[in-house]
């Protein structure tokens, strides 16, 4: 068990900026509203719009989740390497190459 080697103020600032970008996406998404009549492609257009909105929201949520875990490392002075690794050790697989 060892401490975390980090410039906490700088890292806190980096994460805050990143979270702001995730919030921007969520905020734009919350304004979605359309009643566009898509003619013969109505249901296909709705499918594509849903895919786009879900993917954008998933992007924002993933980043927010990442920032939450990293913030724990930044703000919890008692957190150790092993505590944080437990939360961030799932990404070494080849599916993420």
């Amino acid at each position: 068990m060892s401490g975390i080697e980090m410039d906490r103020d700088s890292m806190r600032w980096v994460l805050k900026k990143t979270e702001e970008h995730a919030d921007d996406v969520s905020s734009i998404l919350s304004g979605f509203s359309s009643t566009a009549d898509g003619g013969i492609a109505s249901d296909k257009i709705a499918f594509i719009v849903r895919a786009a909105l879900e993917a954008a929201q998933l992007s924002a949520d993933s980043v927010q989740g990442l920032c939450d875990v990293a913030s724990l490392a930044v703000d919890d002075q008692t957190a150790t390497e092993s505590d944080i690794l437990e939360s961030l050790n799932n990404f070494a697989g080849k599916e993420f190459d």
Partner: protein, 378 residues
């Protein structure tokens, strides 16, 4: 009977939807992607050790997952813009058909051109004029000049053929561009993997993420989907009526596509129709079993869509198999049939057509093809 000149759809509203997608949504998504990459890069200065390495691995995985999202949104917006312009140009063209029909002794009531009626025959002495015809209120009916009936019949046939061709062409276009976008939901696999990995055994992130599953836009999107479902049903019956109205329309439209493509199209319409309003396409936790099981049924030959999977296996078999067997893409049956439509449509298209499409946006290419230069310079 007759030719219905109605083209369902609201070009201006579809265009607004496209504008919302890109730039309004696309720009912040693209900024987010760049920011995540920057975050990973900057962390080298501020965070060292094993946890820092894990953080960067996580950040990089999420960045890769987000990577295709902005291009998907941008492509969807481009296709929607082009589609809205197609509808707008089509409505203008059909309005011209209505005007020319009126000017050529055809009866036009609302959007319907009635079939021409043969003139009444009279036997009169040579050189004497035909008797004056009167309407129900005693008004004098203007006699059509000699040859007017034949001229109106010719125009009627031509309009029926052009209307059928226009619809056939639009359906092909929908397959090549809109259905193609449906098949691309698999591009979000890495994002789904990254999100799932973030949640795995991760109580810190999970507690937060579970609170965010009900997004604010869901209600408005569900309403939009509900409306789309209603209008889709109306337009399918409109198209059936249109084609049964005049056989020339049906044959002109069907000349534009092969029977196997029409079968695949029919199967896709059925699969999309089965999706409930509000069905999630990208799963938050694991696959949505009710939808995926339909895909397994197709793979086992238990569904009428089997023939469609057969069509797809020739071209997109790998993709189809991946979608069905792993079950990681939630809307598997829809995606399978969408791949089939795209495959049949690509097989029918000229190869060269697919090669020049990069570089100039779809809506502008289409405007050039239609001679609509006003669209390009405005």
């Amino acid at each position: 009977m007759g030719i219905d000149l109605t083209i369902p759809g609201d070009p201006a509203a579809i265009r607004s939807l496209a504008e919302w997608l890109d730039p309004k949504l696309n720009n912040p998504v693209n900024d987010l992607h760049q920011r995540v990459k920057t975050t990973s890069f900057m962390s080298w200065d501020y965070w060292r050790g094993e946890t820092a390495t894990a953080f960067r691995e996580t950040t990089d995985a999420i960045a890769k997952g987000i990577d295709p999202v902005d291009s998907y949104i941008a492509d969807a917006a481009e296709v929607f813009r082009a589609y809205s312009e197609r509808l707008r140009r089509g409505k203008e063209k059909f309005a011209e058909y209505g005007e020319s029909a009126k000017n050529t002794w055809l009866t036009v009531v609302g959007p319907i051109i009635a079939p021409p009626i043969a003139p009444q025959q009279f036997f009169t002495k040579p050189g004497s004029p035909p008797p004056i015809q009167r309407g129900p209120n005693g008004e004098c009916i203007v006699q059509r000049p000699p040859g007017a009936y034949e001229e109106s019949l010719e125009l009627y046939k031509k309009i029926a053929n052009d209307v059928g061709t226009w619809w056939g062409d639009l359906e092909n276009w929908v397959d090549e561009h809109i259905v193609l976008l449906m098949t691309r939901v698999e591009e979000f696999q890495k994002l789904t993997n990254a999100f799932a990995a973030l949640q795995k055994g991760n109580y810190v992130a999970l507690s937060f993420l579970l609170n965010r599953t009900a997004a604010q836009w869901e209600g408005n999107l569900t309403f939009f989907e509900g409306e789309a479902k209603k209008t889709q049903g109306l337009y399918e019956s409109h198209n059936q009526r249109l084609r049964s109205g005049d056989p020339r329309i049906r044959s002109a439209a069907e000349k534009m596509s092969k029977p196997e493509l029409r079968a695949a199209r029919h199967a896709l319409a059925s699969e999309v129709g089965k999706l409930k309003v509000g069905t999630k396409i990208i799963p938050l936790v694991g696959p949505a079993i009710d939808v995926v099981s339909g895909g397994v049924e197709i793979a086992n030959g238990g569904s009428p869509s089997t023939v469609v999977v057969g069509v797809a296996s020739g071209v997109g078999g790998g993709v189809v198999a991946g979608a069905v067997i792993t079950g990681t893409v939630v809307a598997a049956p829809v995606v399978v049939t969408a791949v089939a439509v795209t495959a049949a449509s690509v097989a029918a298209a000229e190869g060269s057509r697919w090669l020049w499409e990069h570089g100039v946006s779809l809506d502008v290419r289409e405007a050039i093809d239609s001679g609509d230069f006003g669209y390009i310079i405005r």
